[in-house]
C-alpha cells in the first residue's frame, strides 16, 4: 500500500468515524443484561453540533441534572422496583431527518421512552416516528402548534405552546408600560415555530388596540437582519418584537445600534433568557424584554426538585454557580413528567406510561403540568423577563414578578 492510498483510506475513515459518530451509529446495541434491566432507560436525540448546538447543550444539561437528582435520591420507584435513571444521548446535528433516524435507532435498541430534541423542526420529525413505533416522547422544546395538530397521541409537551411566546410580551407591555406605546413592528425568523409565534402576537397586538406597522421575515439562523431593519427604520415603531432564535435576536439588537434604529423597547422571544445574550451584547442588551417558560419565581413544587428556587440552587451547585436558563428547566421538567408517569403506571411499558402521561395533573417546580388531548401543556402560563443590570428578571405576570418593568426599556445608543 503506497502512501497516497494510505492517506486516502485514512481520510475516508476519518470522515466515516466522525460523521457516523455525529449521527449516533457508533454506539452498538447492547444485549440487555440483568444490570441494565434494573435501569430506567430513556433516549435523548439532541442537537449537540450544528446550528442549534448551544440550545441543545442547555437541554442536555437539564436532562443530566434530572438524572443526577433522581439517582442521588435512590432512583425511580416503578412497580415495586427502584430503578436508576439512565439517559442515552445521541447527536442529531441539528437536522430533523437525523433526529427522526435516531429515534428509530433507539426503538431498535428497545428504548421506548424518549426525551425530546431541541427545537420544533426536530421535534416534529421525531414525533412522527414516535407515533409509528409506539414510543412515548416527553417534548421539552418543540413548541410549534403544528406538531400538535396531527392527531398524535404519544408526544407530550411540558412547555407552553408557540402562540404564547411573543403574544405574552405584547400582553405584558400592554399591562405594564407607561406611557403606553402605540406602534409595533415584528421581525420573525422564517421557521415554523417563529412564524406561529409572530402570527399569534400580531393578532394579540391588534386585539389590544396597537398599530402593527411592519411584519418582516428573515432567514432562519441568519446573523444579518439589516434588510428588515432598514425597511422598519423610517416607520419609527415604538416596539420591535423579534420572534427568533438566539443568533437572529442578537443581530436585531446589534444591527439596530449600528443603523440607528431606536424604538422604546426591544422584545425578543427566547434569547434574553440565554446567558449568551447579555455576554454578547453587553450594555446594548439592557432593557430588552424576553419571554420565558420559567423563572425562579414560578409557582409550584414537586418531591424531586422542590420549588423553582430550589431547582435554581441545585442547578447552580451542579454547574459551577451558573443560574439556570429556562431551556435547562424545561428539559428537566420533561424528564420529570416521564418519571411521574412511570411511577403512576408502575411500569416502564410505553403504552401504560403514555396513558398516565395523558392523565397527569401535577404541580412541579416548572409550574403545572397537564396535557390537552393533543399533548400540549395548556394550563401553564409564560412569564416575561427584562434584562436589568445584566440579568434576566421576571417582570410579568405581576404576581410572580421579581422587579417592576423599566420603561422605556431600550438602550441601543449605549452600544
Amino acid at each position: 500500500m503506497n502512501i497516497r492510498t494510505l492517506v486516502v483510506v485514512c481520510a475516508a475513515l476519518t470522515v466515516a468515524a466522525v460523521g457516523c459518530r455525529s449521527k449516533g451509529d457508533a454506539v452498538p446495541a447492547a444485549a440487555p443484561t440483568p444490570e441494565a434491566e434494573q435501569k430506567f432507560l430513556l433516549g435523548a436525540s439532541l442537537s449537540l453540533t450544528g446550528s442549534l448546538a448551544r440550545e441543545g447543550g442547555l437541554t442536555k444539561e437539564g436532562y443530566e441534572l434530572c438524572a443526577k437528582v433522581v439517582n442521588d435520591k435512590g432512583g425511580v420507584s416503578v412497580g415495586g422496583k427502584t430503578l436508576k435513571l439512565d439517559i442515552q444521548y445521541q447527536d442529531d446535528t441539528s437536522k430533523p431527518d437525523t433526529a427522526a433516524q435516531l429515534v428509530d435507532q433507539f426503538n431498535d435498541k428497545g428504548v421506548k421512552l424518549i426525551l425530546g430534541p431541541y427545537g420544533s423542526a426536530t421535534t416534529e420529525a421525531a414525533a412522527a416516528v414516535i407515533e409509528r413505533n409506539g414510543q412515548v416522547m416527553a417534548d421539552s422544546a418543540g413548541a410549534d402548534d403544528k406538531i400538535f395538530q396531527k392527531n398524535y397521541r404519544r408526544t407530550f409537551a411540558v412547555l407552553s405552546p408557540a402562540t404564547q411566546y411573543a403574544a405574552s410580551m405584547v400582553q405584558a407591555i400592554s399591562d405594564l408600560a407607561q406611557p403606553k406605546p402605540k406602534t409595533f413592528a415584528f421581525i420573525s425568523a422564517d421557521d415554523g415555530f417563529s412564524k406561529t409565534a409572530t402570527k399569534a402576537a400580531i393578532e394579540r397586538a391588534k386585539a389590544l388596540g396597537f398599530v402593527v406597522v411592519a411584519e418582516e421575515y428573515v432567514p432562519n439562523a441568519t446573523s444579518d437582519v439589516s434588510s428588515a431593519l432598514t425597511k422598519i427604520k423610517p416607520l419609527k415603531p415604538d416596539v420591535i418584537v423579534g420572534s427568533a432564535h438566539v443568533v437572529e435576536s442578537i443581530a436585531i439588537v446589534r444591527q439596530s445600534v449600528e443603523l440607528g434604529v431606536k424604538p422604546l423597547a426591544f422584545a425578543e422571544t427566547i434569547a434574553p433568557h440565554t446567558p449568551d445574550f447579555v455576554k454578547t451584547l453587553g450594555p446594548a442588551s439592557e432593557g430588552v424584554l424576553g419571554s420565558t417558560q420559567w423563572t425562579v419565581k414560578t409557582a409550584g413544587k414537586d418531591k424531586w426538585f422542590g420549588s423553582a428556587s430550589d431547582y435554581a440552587a441545585t442547578f447552580s451547585k451542579q454547574f459551577g454557580g451558573r443560574a439556570p436558563a429556562y431551556q435547562n428547566a424545561q428539559a428537566t421538567a420533561a424528564c420529570l413528567a416521564l418519571i411521574i408517569a412511570a411511577e403512576k403506571a408502575g411500569s416502564v411499558e410505553p403504552t401504560k406510561v403514555r396513558d398516565e402521561m395523558a392523565k397527569l395533573d401535577e404541580q412541579t417546580f416548572f409550574g403545572p403540568i397537564k396535557f390537552s388531548e393533543s399533548g400540549q401543556n395548556v394550563v401553564k402560563a409564560m412569564s416575561v423577563v427584562q434584562i436589568q443590570n445584566g440579568h434576566a428578571v421576571g417582570v410579568w405576570p405581576k404576581d410572580s414578578a421579581e422587579a417592576p418593568l423599566k420603561w422605556p426599556g431600550s438602550a441601543p445608543d449605549k452600544g
Binding site: 497516497r4 453540533t49 432598514t230 440607528g260 449568551d276
Partner: protein
C-alpha cells in the same frame, strides 16, 4: 431613497467582509485546484484566537487580526506540507473528502474546547456609526473590516504580482511541471499558498468576531459564502473574491429591500447561476486556469 442608499452602503460593507472571508478560499482553489471545505473552520479558528487574545490580554480584535493571521499561516503551512500535499494530485473527490473530514474535526474540536456558546469580541466602538446627512449610518466596526479587506486584497495582489515568491505561486498554479523545470519547489510553494490562505482566513475571523456573533456551527456558512463569492468573482485573480463578495453583499441588500428578507438566499444563488451561465469563469476570472497543464 435614503432607505435604498442605506441598504446599498451596508450591503457594500457586508460585501467587503464576505470578500475578506473568501479571498483565501479563492487563492487555494485557483492555485492548487483544491476546494478547501475546512476554510470556514479556519475563519472560526481565527475568530476564537482573537477572542482568546482579547479575553487574556484585552487585545483589540482588529489588532488581533495580525497574530491570528500569523498563527493560522503556520497552521496552514504545516497542514498542507504534512497532510494535504499527500493528496494534492488525487481526484477532486479525495481532496473534498479530506477537507470535509478536517472541517468536522476542527468544528468538533472547537465545540469541545470552547463549547457551542455564541460569542462576540466586544469593543467600545464597533457598534457606533458615522451619521451622514439623511440619517445614513456607517458602522465603525464594519468600515474598519471593509478597509482591512481592501488592504489585505491589495497586499495580496502586490505579493502575487510583484514578488518572486508571488510569481512562483502564480507560475506553479499555471503549470506545475514548467515551474519545477525553472527550479521552483512545488511542495514549498503549495504549502506557502495554503498557509497564506489560512492566514487570510484567520484575519477574516478576527474581523468577523468584532462585528458579528460566532459559534462553531458557523463554519459551514462561511465555507458556502466563500464558495459563492469565489465563483462569482472568478478564480485566478486576487481581486476576484473581493469583487464576488461585494456583488453578493449588494445582491443580498437589494434583494432584501425589493423582495423581502426570506428571498435573500434565493436571489443570491439565482445571481450565481446567472453569472455562471453567462460568464463561467466568473466576473474577473481568467479561463486559462481551466486548461492549466497537469504534470
Amino acid at each position: 431613497m435614503n432607505q435604498f442608499l442605506q441598504a446599498t452602503i451596508y450591503g457594500l460593507l457586508q460585501g467587503c467582509m464576505f470578500g475578506l472571508v473568501a479571498v483565501g478560499f479563492s487563492l487555494v482553489w485557483g492555485v492548487m485546484h483544491v476546494i478547501n471545505l475546512a476554510h470556514g473552520a479556519f475563519v472560526l479558528l481565527g475568530a476564537y484566537l482573537a477572542w482568546q487574545l482579547h479575553a487574556a490580554f484585552g487585545l483589540d480584535p482588529f489588532l488581533g487580526m495580525l497574530p491570528a493571521g500569523i498563527v493560522l499561516f503556520a497552521f496552514g503551512y504545516a497542514l498542507q506540507r504534512g497532510l494535504i500535499n499527500l493528496v494534492v494530485n488525487a481526484p477532486i473527490f479525495i481532496t473534498l473528502l479530506l477537507t470535509f473530514g478536517l472541517e468536522l474535526l476542527l468544528v468538533n474540536g472547537l465545540i469541545l474546547v470552547f463549547t457551542a456558546d455564541y460569542r462576540s469580541i466586544p469593543t467600545t466602538y464597533a457598534g457606533r456609526s458615522f451619521v451622514l446627512p439623511g440619517d445614513i449610518h456607517i458602522p465603525f466596526g464594519r468600515l474598519i473590516a471593509a478597509g482591512g479587506a481592501i488592504a489585505v486584497t491589495s497586499g495580496l495582489f502586490y505579493v502575487i504580482r510583484r514578488t518572486r515568491t508571488g510569481l512562483a505561486i502564480l507560475a506553479t498554479g499555471m503549470d506545475r511541471g514548467a515551474a519545477r523545470l525553472m527550479g521552483i519547489g512545488a511542495r514549498h510553494v503549495y504549502a506557502l499558498t495554503f498557509g497564506i490562505a489560512a492566514g487570510l482566513a484567520g484575519m477574516a475571523g478576527a474581523a468577523v468576531g468584532a462585528v458579528n456573533t460566532f459559534s462553531p456551527a458557523d463554519a459551514g456558512r462561511y465555507t458556502l459564502l466563500s464558495f459563492v463569492a469565489a465563483v462569482l468573482g472568478g478564480l485566478g485573480n486576487t481581486s476576484g473574491a473581493l469583487i464576488g463578495g461585494l456583488l453578493l453583499g449588494l445582491v443580498e441588500a437589494w434583494g432584501g429591500q425589493l423582495l423581502g428578507g426570506t428571498w435573500i438566499n434565493a436571489v443570491a444563488f439565482a445571481v450565481l447561476v446567472l453569472v455562471l451561465a453567462i460568464r463561467p469563469q466568473g466576473l474577473v476570472g481568467k479561463a486559462y486556469y481551466a486548461s492549466r497543464v497537469e504534470v
